[in-house]
Symmetry: D2
Subunit: 257 residues, 4 copies
């Protein structure tokens, strides 16, 4: 029996989504291959039909699911506009909503994100909203038909890891949608940790892009996501306050046990 | 170019050592295969030449490096005695020194461990001492010829993870021997974290043994160790206080950048 | 020069707000005195004008600022109704908005909280909204005239501490209102940590109420809040990766330095 | 009933020990007063009988307990020599053993520290050894008559906090001596945390010395130590996985409860 992720109308083997920002175009194919990813995000501005050299789509495998993001949008309305442009440009009908008003921490605006999601779901998009981890927002997103919820682990590009663990754990438990941890993961171990908590997938961009060897780091994240998923599925033991002998002899020679 | 671990006279591809305590004998072959391990620890009491059914060696692949531990020893002298018995029983000349006086947390006694190491190195053993993470002890172990240093991440069997991270990081930086994190790792992500810090390897027993599906968990740890090693080798980016746009469009439409 | 907190039209010396839930009435005066608190929260249901024995107001000092909460409200509208009843019952015009739809983690609903805040500010209330820590919500609350923002450190009554530290730090930096950490603080050290980060105040209820000695614990929180505030004000030194000799002799005898 | 600390032949009200390294002499009296400390550490080099201006003892209150440290010692023998010099110089018979061989992290050498302790206890000193947190070492120190055990929270002067929490907690539980957390505490909240765990006292130097306002920071640490001690004594409640309503109304209007 294989473990797969059902997301909208797709069945995915890979639980590692990869972003293409900050990469030079030439690196993209090798990184995506090493990551084994099936879902690839990109900013619309990098989709340039008139210039094949500068068109990110020419560097993404044909069978990948494209997940254009609405980066640059400050309002839900702007996000809706970008999503429509992306579909018109041939990027398909999946979209990651990203509405950001904050210059310093680039935190998403949950309210405007919800507005865009409502509109785009009605227009037939498969909508994956990027949000600040908040239960009420996540519930409304589920109610209005989002395909997943994508809370941040830490600010975009910060490599700070799973700093919002407490709130993400609650989303995983309470929301009947796949929770995809997006932003902030800086090390493979942090991706594994998210998966062990029960996240459905993670999205990684900066941590791979800024590594000295992005291809090797992409492979590291791929293995970490699989490792963490197996850790989740195989029913880990409880954490204990005290020690517990792991061998029949730890303890003392000659004592009964 | 392949990344390998030089340990004493061996060249290892796998950086995941596995302990066989708490497993039923039948499970051992599948767990070891799933872990891809080349170094296997066992308590001497489970090495029973007269009873093949109860002899752990009959469940371990022939090409594995045996690493009998001295569990049950309360003094260096007892550890030396157990090590000699293990060699006489055909377990080879590698030994993990484990001297424990504490019943509750099963913490190793660094001083007695050092005494046993000195003696056994002179007798031609390849000695891997299990220690409480202490720089002075680790330096003396290196000086007297230990093959590696094995500090605990947390008490044996506690599944508490890398709680001694601060001190282990110092050992990795200061000691010119492989540092193998032993005890306490409870989740794959924690093994990955140790590897990302620069540990040479990790030893896992309880976390696999007590999982609902030990074979699957063994595979999870194998992937996590590889993931963490890749994370270490591929030169991860710095952690930042603030956000950093990961795509050319994160930020604002129409603004210069 | 004294450090005070300006909150709406009040000048407060104490930065420890205390909640009266879970206490027997008789304990309240001693706990409030030990906490040195000037702002006291209570649920409206405990304000019973017809029964002095069961009326929480008879146990609260006359000079305390009453901060009735809207607990029990599931919508903004219900919160507005409770706030009006509280004012009519003589509790004054301060109100803590608490709108909760989630039974398990009792997380506040940011959206309904914002609606109630908008309405009540217009009606002349001093509004302190309890929220899930989200920058966009906090900004809107500031824009519509809230007197402070009260993000949770962890779920109500969980004693789990400052689990949302990452997001609260961002609120402190970005929002031009007092940030009062509310819910989840379980130990004095956690209150001190919040203050060191720059929180304007903290609100504590359960941690004091469930202690074996609530009066002593109240005093502990009072001192911790003062300690953390002093830590914030006195300009702490940077954290360092390595050691740094703290005395002219740490280092080595006979060496120049 | 007053809570006091019995240490050797003294009964102490204050659980905050303060080090005088890195301070200009003039600051010392105000810092010690603000800290309310009764035990003051200093390096022997600063005890200069021939030069009152440069003699730290002239800046320390007459009723303080002097705790000269052996900083500069690389071996137990050197520590013993410094301790004797300190006693001869009129510093009394208390001594903090500090034996350091490591230049980078300034970690104490447990083995040499134990040797010095054995010798000095026999010579009638009250010995407080500074150690890397290790249970076996602590037990031997207790057996040979040390007055307390002083494990590090993090490297000296690093302001990194209680990074060795796991091991210090075990010392507190298992060792029948006062455990005094020494080195690394950088913020008042971290001192409070150590006290809440059951530490008998803490020693702070750098965190106060390098603050912009050392006197105010000293007061912050004093309050934090008292706060943490009260937190320990007053029987804090359990940490919970889920929320727990703190008021009779949190939950829902109109429902039975």
């Amino acid at each position: 029996m294989t473990d797969v992720l059902h997301l909208a109308d797709k069945v995915l083997r890979s639980r590692l989504f990869v972003g293409t920002g900050k990469f030079s175009y030439e690196l993209v194919p090798d990184v995506l291959a090493a990551a084994g990813t099936q879902v690839v995000t990109m900013a619309l501005r990098r989709v340039d039909r008139n210039n094949p050299q500068e068109n990110i789509l020419n560097y993404v495998p044909r069978d990948a699911i494209l997940l254009p993001n609405t980066s640059g949008a400050r309002t839900g309305e702007e996000a809706v506009r970008i999503a429509r442009l992306a579909r018109a440009a041939g990027c398909g009908n999946w979209v990651k909503i990203e509405v950001i008003q904050d210059q310093r921490y680039l935190l998403p605006d949950n309210y405007e994100t919800l507005l865009a999601t409502e509109t785009l779901v009605k227009e037939g998009f498969v909508v994956l909203p990027y949000v600040s981890p908040d239960l009420g927002t996540a519930r409304r997103l589920a109610d209005c038909g989002a395909a997943a919820v994508m809370p941040l682990g830490a600010p975009i590009g910060s490599n700070r890891g799973l700093r919002t663990k407490e709130l993400i754990g609650i989303l995983i438990e309470e929301i009947p949608l796949p929770i995809v941890v997006d932003a902030g993961l800086g090390r493979p171990s942090e991706a594994a940790q998210a998966m062990e908590m029960g996240a459905a997938a993670v999205l990684v961009n900066t941590a791979i892009a800024v590594a000295d060897d992005p291809v090797q780091m992409a492979k590291g994240f791929r293995l970490a996501v699989e490792a963490g998923r197996l850790g989740y599925l195989s029913g880990p033991g409880a954490r204990r306050e005290e020690a517990h002998a792991s061998s029949p002899l730890t303890g003392f020679l000659g004592e009964e046990r």
